[in-house]
Structures are given as structure tokens and as C-alpha cells.
Amino acid sequence: MFIVAVSALGFMAVSCGRLSVERAEALNQAPILMPDYAGVTVPATIAPLNFTLCDSFDVVDVVVSGAKGEPIHVQGTSVPCLPMDDWHVLLSENQGDSLSLQIHVQRSGKWFAFNPVPIYVSADSIDESVCYRLIAPGYEVYSKMGIYRRTLSDFNQTALVENTLVPGMCVNCHSFKQTNPAYFTMHVRGKNGATLVESPDHGMKAYSTKTDSTISSCVYPYWHPSGKYIAYSNNETRQTFHTMATKRIEVFDFKSDICVYNIATNELLSSPLLRTANYETFPCFSVDGKRLFFCVASEKSMPNELEEVRYNLCAIDFDAASGTFGSKIDTLFQADKLGKSVSFPRVSYDGRFLMFTMANYGQFSIWHKEADLYLLDLETLAVRPLDEVNSSDTESYHAWSSNSRWVVFSSRRMDGLYTRIYIAHVDESGKMGKPFLLPQEKPIEYYDALIYSYNIPEFCNGTVQMDLRNLENQLLSSEKPSFKYKK
């Protein structure tokens, strides 16, 4: 008996420790993967889509194969991680094609086969990394937080800046110029608050952005494609809390205006059309830099009429050479007529589309369960909901990849509270692929334990050069330079 057992063990060892899948019974159903990677479209450089199975089994056997290249074969009592190098080779060889995920499970010694699951590998490249803020989804108080950079081809996350650097500080609203990290801006709130502006010509400087002529400090930045200007809005913001379970917070503006910062002259530029009693917010430049998109809502009595505040999508001309604005405002999408409200307009970098979030009212769609992503075709001005990526929970902040073929967005679909990052492919006609959750080495354990939300995801091409000690010194300095308002 002992000899038989030893022989059996030896045989298993010879066959690489892997049980052979024989006479598997077809289950005629697709496996339920967690995260749901079935049918997603991914870039060829994405990190392995590790997953677990929402099913019970003794042993699981996973084969990932494509038309070209060596299949990946793993087996274990839980779903093993997919080997990084083999995964990248397989994806690179099958760009523009698809992979097949064949899963077998063994229960009580018998094998069962799920239907194969496709994973589409796009030929479109994606940016190197994604930057985001990690913060607990709280109300007013903030604990540890930071802005982090996550490379998309592996699972490495590095901190760009954490709020432990200067006690009491809060970091938010980071922004790159069209994914280029050489142009970077970020806000710091708290006792030593400032706005950080970094560009190749300008170096890194921390500014006080509140002026006598503006209603508040500058927020919601968006870089001009030339890198010479940054559009901001000035918002006098408040928040209030709901008492019912399905709602949580409302963030609203008492006032808001838009201005554009000229980096070279250290001046804020604006137009009377952007500084009305109405609420102008969320600026975003067109790709050629000649238009400034933004959201605007009629003034209401706040917070009593909060649920009546609805933002439309508008635009105004901007002349970068003279730093002047056009004389009229165009309304591109009148959401209030539909009883809806637009936020976070973002133009694709090929200039073809504008993606925005739409909710029932207000501007802070991130706390609205009904908030969804919509796409405006800038050629036809047709608007459509992005049903391919929307869920029954919040979809909110979003950003385009540098080649405009990918979109990263935040969604609360996982548990209704903690925002997670999803990435979706966009083809030339604006059709979206099925989005996939930002991969992690052990995604279920990772996301389950993570009590931070992903905030403001932005694609990033390259390394962000952040001189932390310089930043610390500038923030702690009592004499920060101030923005000037050009009257």
C-alpha cells in the first residue's frame, strides 16, 4: 500500500504536480468570475486579470489561451494567480484578437467544465499608469490619504504624496496636461493649504490661489493643451447630510465662477460671462484649446432649492494668444430640460467626444446613485447614455487615455459605498467595451480589505517628479506667492 502511494505521488510529481482534467462533464454555463472579467476588453499591457470563482470546488483548473502563443495553465485548490511574464507574452501575441478562459472544477473527484469565457485584447495601447487619490469615503473629516500612481502592467502602487508629509493637510484635485505628468497641479487644504503648479518651464511652486476678486480658492483644474494655462473654478461649497439610508451627502455651491490661470504672468483671467450669479463650474478645454467647456446652473436659494439645481453643458471661446474669452456662451446640452444635471465634462484628446456624468440634480454626482456616464459626439452633438459601462450604482469621475481609446472611471457598483476604478475601451465610433476592474494580485481580498475610495482617476504617461522635501518646505512656508487677478 505504501509503495502504491509513493508511486502515485511520484506520478503526480512527474506530471508537474498538476492533476489531469479527464472526462469533464459540461456544465453548459459560464463561470461567475469575481471580479467580472468575462467578455471585457483589455489592453495588451494590462496586469494579469487574477480572479476567484463564485462557486465551490475542490480543485480548479484554468487555461488561458489565444490563437497564438503558449497557453497559460494553472491549477490549485483556489484560483492561482496568473504568471505575470507568461500573461504579458500571451496578450502581446494576441493583440487585436481574443483570449479564451477555460475553467474546469473538480468536485468530489469528478471534473466539470464551464463554458469558455472570452477576454478581448485590444490593439490600442494604453497609458503607463493611473493616478488617483485614496481617501475614506467620509463626510467632513479626513484621515490618512494620498495621491498614488499605479502602473497598469503590474500591481505596483507608489505614493506621490501622502498627507502625513505635513500634519493636517488634505490633498485633492490632481491634474495632468493630457496625461503628461510633467505638467501637474494639485490642491492642498488645511492649515498650510496651497495649490501646487508644476510645469517644465516653471518648476514647482505652491501658491495661495484666493484673491480679493475671486469668491474662493481655485479648484477643479484643467490644463490648456499648450501647458500655458490652467482653467479653474472658484466655488463656495457647502455640504449637508441626508437622514435616509439610500442617500448620504449633498455637496453644493452657494456661488461658483470660472477663471483661467496664466502661468507665465501669474494672473487669473476671466470674463463677466463666467462670473455671473449663476453657478459656473467644472471647466475643461477643447483639444485645440480654443473652447472652454463648463457646466452652468441657474442660481437658486440654497440649500432649500438644492434639488432644483440642474447644470447644463456650455462652452465659450478662448483665445490662448491674447488670453481673452468669446462674447457669447453656447449651450451644448440642455440637461435641465430633461430634469437632469451635468457634471465633469471631459473631452477626448482626439477632439471627437465629450464624456460627462449626469445625475438628477446638483453638481456632486459622486454621491448620487443614479449618476451615469454619457457621451456627447462633438461632431453631431448627439448625446447617449453609456449603457455599456453604466451600472445601477454611481458612475462619476472619468478621464481619457492619451490616445482617446480608453476611459478610466470611478464607480460604486461593487458595494454601493467605496468607489473603485474601472477601465473601458472606446472605439473610433464611441462604442465602449465592457469595463474591467483595476486588476490586483488578489483582487477580492484586496478590495475587501481596502477601506479607501479611489478618487479622481487620471491616466498618466511617465513618472511624476515630486520633490517631497521641496514640497514640504513650500507648504510650510508662511510666505506663499499668490495668484493675481487681472482686472
Binding site: A136, Y139, V161, T164, T240, H242, M244, A245, L417, I451
Partner: protein, 585 residues
Amino acid sequence: MKIRNLQLLASLLFGMAVYLFWIMVYPAHFNYQEQYQCFLYTFDYLADTVNCPGGFMAYISRFLTQFFYNIHVGALLYAVLLIVLQRLTWRVMMVLDKQEMPKHYWYALSFIPAAAYWMLTCDENYFLAGILDISMALLVVWGCVRITVLKWRMLAVLASMPILFVMVGGGFWFPALLILLFKSDGWKNKICLLLAGSVLAVLVVLAASHWVQYPMWRLWAGINQFRIQEGDILVQIIGLSSVFVAIVAYLFVPTVPKIAKQKITVVFSAVVIAWGTYYLVSNSCNMEYEEYMAYDECVRRQDWRKIIEMGNEKVPHKPYTVAYLNLALGKTGQLGNRMFHYFQHGSEGLIRDFVRHPVGALVSSEIYYHLGLVNIAQCHAFEAMEAVPDYQKSVRIMQRLTETNLINRQYEVARKYARILQKTHFYKDWADEVLACIDDSVRFSRHKEWVYMREVRNVEDFHYSSKEKDMMLGLLYTHNYRNKMAFEYLMAYCLLNKDLPHFVQYFSVGRNLNYQEIPRHFQEGLAMFWLQQHNSLQGMPWPINPIVKRNISDYASIYMRHNSAKNMLQTRYKSTFWYYCNYGD
């Protein structure tokens, strides 16, 4: 008895004093310390904790702190660690002195650091890591001095610095400083060590400044000893100075050759150190905070009777404790009858406004939870957790967040928190139960509190406003007339604001409660309102007790006719709404 045994006995007596102090004088601090952390038995928690200078000792400190769940274990831990610190100090004193005959009669000096650290632990924000850090530093000194070859000793000291930086953080340079006191090493060697050590210390901190995102001063001072960042330097200075001073004192006190004088030295030094310890510790105790913590612990355990007993024993005066006493009265149905038997702090002593503080937000969260304002309780609980200054998560608040999400049927979030709590030692079973309840409604229905909260919580939406608490309480009560506590809080809120028109207006809303007898203070409010509108008590539409009627007539008579009415009324009517209305708050 041998000297060594006497010394051990003295150390044990010291430890016993520490133990008794924590058990008898300062026990509620354990609950406070334990609840503002969430030690997880996971690799990620370990990695996250050790990923900063001093992280290793912080990890051990947090591991030990979770056992503060039991106050006896907590007290024992403090006692043992302070004995270890004292004994290590003694060992280091002896090895640095390098005398053949140790100065045993100066043994009391070795208690100075332990006394100083005992004093530091009286601050609720001071962590066990402080004692662990200094003990580790002394262990390194003791180990290095025992290396007999000078060259290797110097190298060992220098090599220990980066290791200590990782393990204990800010005080990593301290052993090198102590080694300079070693009597055997010559001045030249000491200068070399001082220079090399200084350069190395600067290099270590500069290197670390690129690795971790903390201000430079925190890299020098330490990160994990004190909950509030600004206090790091001060506690480090106090702690390290006490060790340095004690060791220097031992090295430079004169030898006492005569036995009789040695005995006098022993007694004298022991008395001075014991008195000094008593002075330091007693002046470091914050008994007001201990009182709040005792109330808070009872609220956590929902031991309402104990709170009322404590209130009877010593009437609380601070807003947090008054609020907790009112909560206990509310939970036991005594608010309307007894609230003015105690000092009242206005409506802020009933329902506190939100403050960005882990304690203040937790107090208001508890009150809102028990009232049935589950969402607001969740909001304040979340904020309380986020407000913890050292960025740790709170196991108690995590429980509350789990409960509120469970009650609100936000099951995925409740699951998430419960699965985190499953990785703790003391809350695993509770988390298992929550997870079982999510999937089993019958099991959920066995938890009367959760069932009740789900029943009474608000389902209609309105925006929370701290200025309209009466509206909020009114809506809460009218949503579910079983929520008697919400009604009584509404009434109490108006009384504490001395707002009788609203009190009377809202009183009619409570007719569904069918009181057999209207609570005494509510009767007092109604009678007073009536008297303000009418010349007599005749025709009052409410069934007011004849005694109340007689008393208010008497009260009014004294109030109107006597110049020294306050003193007269205080003796007879101090525990009435009328007295509060005229003289209270």
C-alpha cells in the same frame, strides 16, 4: 535577605503599585486605548504598520494594546513593562559604571525612567510603544557595552542605529549617546563615536526622508509614541531625558563606603523617588477624562444603570458626561422624571453638535444611534473614526458602522466591515454573527436592538441640521410612535432650551404614548407655561399632579416675593425644571 532579592522585591512592589493604580484609579483608560485601534491578524496590517520608522515596535504595541480589552491584562502589561524598563535601566547603569562593586544603595535611581514613563502613560494619547522603544534602546546599550573589544563595540553601536531607526524610530540615536557615558572608553574614542554617530544619524534620517512621507522633525522625534502628532517631541524629550538623567546621576553619585550610611542612602533615595513618582503620576492623571471614559465604557456596554449610579455618586458637569447620563436616563425611561435631578448643560448636554474630534463625534454618534437616527449616527461614527489623529481605525466604531449598515440593509458594506472585524481577536465572533444575520433574516430577528432600530429609523429623507434638532426628533417620533425616547428627547430638548411654546406645541404629538402619568418634568413645563399665560392653574387641559400644582404655586410665590429667592428655591426646588429655567445653565 540578599541585596539582589531586596532589589527584586522593590521592583515587584513598584510593579504592584502600577497594577493597582491602573485597576483602581485609571481603569477606564484601557477601554479608550483599546477602542481607538483595530489590530488585524493579517499580513497587510503588519506590512502597513511596519512601513515607517518605529513601525516594528508600534506593531508590538498595538498587538499588546488589543488586550486592554481586559483591564487586568492591561494593568499587568503596564506593570510588567515598567518593571522591565526599571530593571534594564539598572543593568545599564551597572554596565556603564564598570565598577567591581555596583552602588546597590542607589538602586532607587533606576526607578526614575520607569516613573517618568508611568507618568507619560497617564496621558490617554501615549502608546505602549514608548515604553517598548526605550526598553529596546536600553537593551542595545546593555548588549553593546558587554562587547569587550572597543572596535567591535563601536561598530556594534553604529550598526545598531539604522536597525533601531526601523524598529523604534526617533530615539534610534539614544543608545549611541548613552554609550558615550561608558567609563572605560577614552575621550578620543568617545569623540570619534560622537562624530561618526552624528554623521550616521543625519544620513539615516536623510535617507528615510526619501522613503517615508513624514516631516523631518517627526523622523527625529518619532512617529508612533503619541496619538497627536504635535506631542511627539515633548514625550520623547521627557522619556529620554529621564533615562539620561537617571544614568548620569548613578554614574556620578559618590560611593558610600559605610554600611550605615548606605542604609540611610537606600531609605532616603527610596522615599524621595517614591514621593516623586507619586507626585508625577498624581499630577499627570486627568480624572475628568477618566470619568468621561468610564461613562463611555458603560455606554459601549449599554450598562445604563451603572451610568445612573455613577451620576448619583458624583453628578457629572462636563458636556460629554452629562450627555451620556441623559442618554442613560432616556434609555431607562427616566429622562422626563429625573433629568433635572442632575446638573444640565443646556441642549448641548442632551444632543451634542458635531465636532471634528474622535471623542465628541463618538458621543453624538452614540446618542443618535440610540434615538434611532441611524444614518446620522453612522455619519458621526465615520467622522469620529476619521478624526483619530494617528490615522488608526477604531474597532468600536467599525462595529457601529457594521451595525448601521446592517440595519440600513446596506449589506455589502456591512459584510465588508464584518469581514475586517473577523480578522481581530476579540470581535471575530461578533463579526461572524453579523455575517450570519445578513444571510439569515430569522437570525437577524433575534437581535432585538437591530430589529428595533430598523423599525424606528427614518425612512423619509430630510437634511440633517444641528439647528433644527427639534424638527428632526419630531419627524423621527412621528415616523414611529413606539419611539418614546425620541419624543422624550424632543421634550427635553425644548425644556433645556427653555423653549416652552415649542414644548407645549410638541407635547400634543406625544398623545399616542398614553402616559399613565405625564413625566414629572414635563408636568412642570406644562404648568409653568400655563402660569405664564394665565393667572391661576385653573382650567389646565393636562392632568397635572396636585403636588406639582402645589409646588409651582409655592415656587412662584417664593420667586416673586423674596430677594434671596435663589437660595431658598435651591434647597427645595433644585431638581425641578422651574429652577433650571430661572437659574440653570
